[in-house]
Amino acid sequence: MTELKTFTTLTDDTGFLQARSILYRRMILSMIYHAQAGHTGGSLSCVDILNVLYNHVMDITPGNFARIDRDRYIHSKGHSVEALYAVLADRGFFPPAALETLEKFGSDFSGHPTRSVPGVEQNTGALGHGLSVAVGMALAAKMDGRRHRVFTLMGDGELAEGSVWEASMSAAHYRLDNLVVIVDRNTLQISGRTENVMALEPLTEKFAAFGYAVRHVDGHDIAALVSLFDALPFEPGKPNLVLARTVKGKGVSFIEDNAAWHHHVPTANEYAAALQELADAEEAWKRRYERDEPAAC
């Protein structure tokens, strides 16, 4: 596993964040390859969002994790746990070597996040649960007059769960503009295209009708994510909803936009090829930023 130099401060440096995304993708693939298990496509699809949230937006560190006024993050699409583990390791919540136990007997690092893992706020994995819990946390913050925010990330396939819409009603009813809901809209779920499995669109109109301030963003464009989250809250008195256009499996050409990679584990050859693509991406990044090596990698 890659050795990490951990850091705890937030950064505006989009070049640095882009390098971090490459590192996280390498960690995700390494974890899944060595565990011979995991959710490859979804982790690669949401990792840029997590990168920007943890390294630029949210005030969540190992040092403040017991503080009542820390920001909160709920990983509602719990299956994409490898992305979360990579970012939490990088943020210093646990040594990266711990990830070598992923899905192994007796490990705290199961295939969906639990509070046994430092930095995990809530046990998730059954879909359609995270938003309600986030609503409760945001409501408590409002009642206590605290200024911290609550973030949750949902998959798009997850939106078929009715509880998502129950929770959405309550978020708008209680005017939770401290709640930030992000949808990883990669248009794929385990059986195929979301629109073929159970049509979701028009999502913008649906979320707006449920009372959200809806914004769109390219979920892989670091600079766009940075500036979007900098604009929070989008509209006072309304919960925030970010429809992030993403590509499932983003960053590795032969994994991208293919439902078969929902929880497919790369073969040795595929793993090597994927690492090569990420090495190429890193080289391209270095040329772009004329830096010797990615910061702190």
Binding site: Q122, N123, S132, G136
Partner: protein
């Protein structure tokens, strides 16, 4: 025995919450359009900031309760037991129990309290379902004294907790100063070296077990009645001690005969090597008849005469 009915356990629950709320501003009550059914109208008027309406959405009710508890609130999530523990079972399992959020789940009008409304409104599965989920304590108070004590204990209870009760006025079985502890059964009859029958009962059936034991005493049969108000933690020692001294054991519950108190007691006794005659009284494995709670109890033998008759057959 002819105890006068006191209040409904539901009323005692609502009054107790009201008494606690003034001193505990972190105490929150969540309802699913159930403030009327929960007798919480006065609470809502007195403490409008401490009653949060979630609408008819039990899954969200439980998930939001978990989020509030995670933020340090002392949350009582109140909804009819039938909906709370079936519709929102996955939220109870994952968001509350698995995530270890000390939410107090209050199942109102439990069992067949809504008997005449049909099986949609019965909760005869809840004890079985929740006993199969780790890390949630389960309390079924018998009378006003147990209910008040259970709600008081719930406030600072460190683990997820489910309390269920009905809405019919209940005779008071205990003196007000009776010691109540979650996980400790209470014996309602004098201690003897030998019992004819040990009745192990919970909730609103306990009063019938007490009355049955008095009928049997008129026949010269001394019985033991345990109010086993906590299904988890389960007071194994009290059950074993009562069974050891008894010729026969009868369990009584307002729940399916499958997976509730009776199944728990039977498994315990078998595994402890206590092989005495045993009868599980509850609601049999069929669509429940329509009627009031007392009519349904009568129909299935959950009555002083019905229990006494079963006991005589067992001996």
């Amino acid at each position: 025995m002819n105890l006068p009915p006191a209040k409904a356990n539901l009323d005692v629950f609502a009054e107790t919450l009201g008494a606690l709320a003034a001193q505990n501003r972190d105490l929150l009550v969540l309802t699913s359009d159930s403030r009327g059914s929960g007798k919480l109208g006065p609470f809502g008027q007195q403490f409008p900031d401490q009653l949060i309406e979630m609408g008819i959405a039990e899954q969200n009710l439980v998930g939001v309760a978990a989020g509030l508890a995670a933020a340090g609130k002392k949350v009582f999530a109140v909804s009819p037991a039938c909906f709370l523990t079936a519709r929102a079972l996955e939220q109870i399992k994952n968001d509350v129990a698995y995530s270890d959020r000390p939410v107090k789940l209050i199942g109102i009008s439990a069992g067949v309290s809504y008997g005449a409304l049909g099986n949609t409104h019965h909760s005869l599965h809840d004890l079985a379902a929740l006993q199969a989920i780790p890390n949630i304590d389960i309390v079924v108070p018998a009378d006003n004294v147990e209910t008040r004590a259970a709600i008081l204990a719930a406030l600072e209870h460190p683990r997820p907790l489910y309390i269920r009760f009905g809405k019919r006025p209940m005779p008071t079985l205990h003196a007000p100063e009776t010691r109540f502890e979650i996980g400790k059964a209470i014996r309602l009859t004098p201690e003897r070296d030998r019992y004819a029958v040990a009745f192990i009962a919970c909730g609103e059936t306990v009063v019938h077990a007490v009355a049955a034991s008095e009928l049997l005493r008129q026949d010269g049969l001394d019985c033991c009645v345990l109010s086993l108000h906590s299904l988890r933690p389960f007071d194994k020692a009290a059950v074993i001690e009562a069974a050891h001294r008894a010729e026969a054991v009868m369990t009584v519950e307002e729940h399916s005969v499958n997976g509730g108190l009776g199944s728990r007691v039977a498994a315990l006794l078998m595994q402890t090597g206590i092989f005495c005659p045993l009868h599980i009284v509850g609601i049999p494995d069929e669509h429940t008849v329509t009627g009031s709670q007392s009519e349904i109890f009568q129909h299935y033998g959950i009555s002083p005469e019905g229990l006494a008759q079963t006991a005589r057959q067992l001996l």
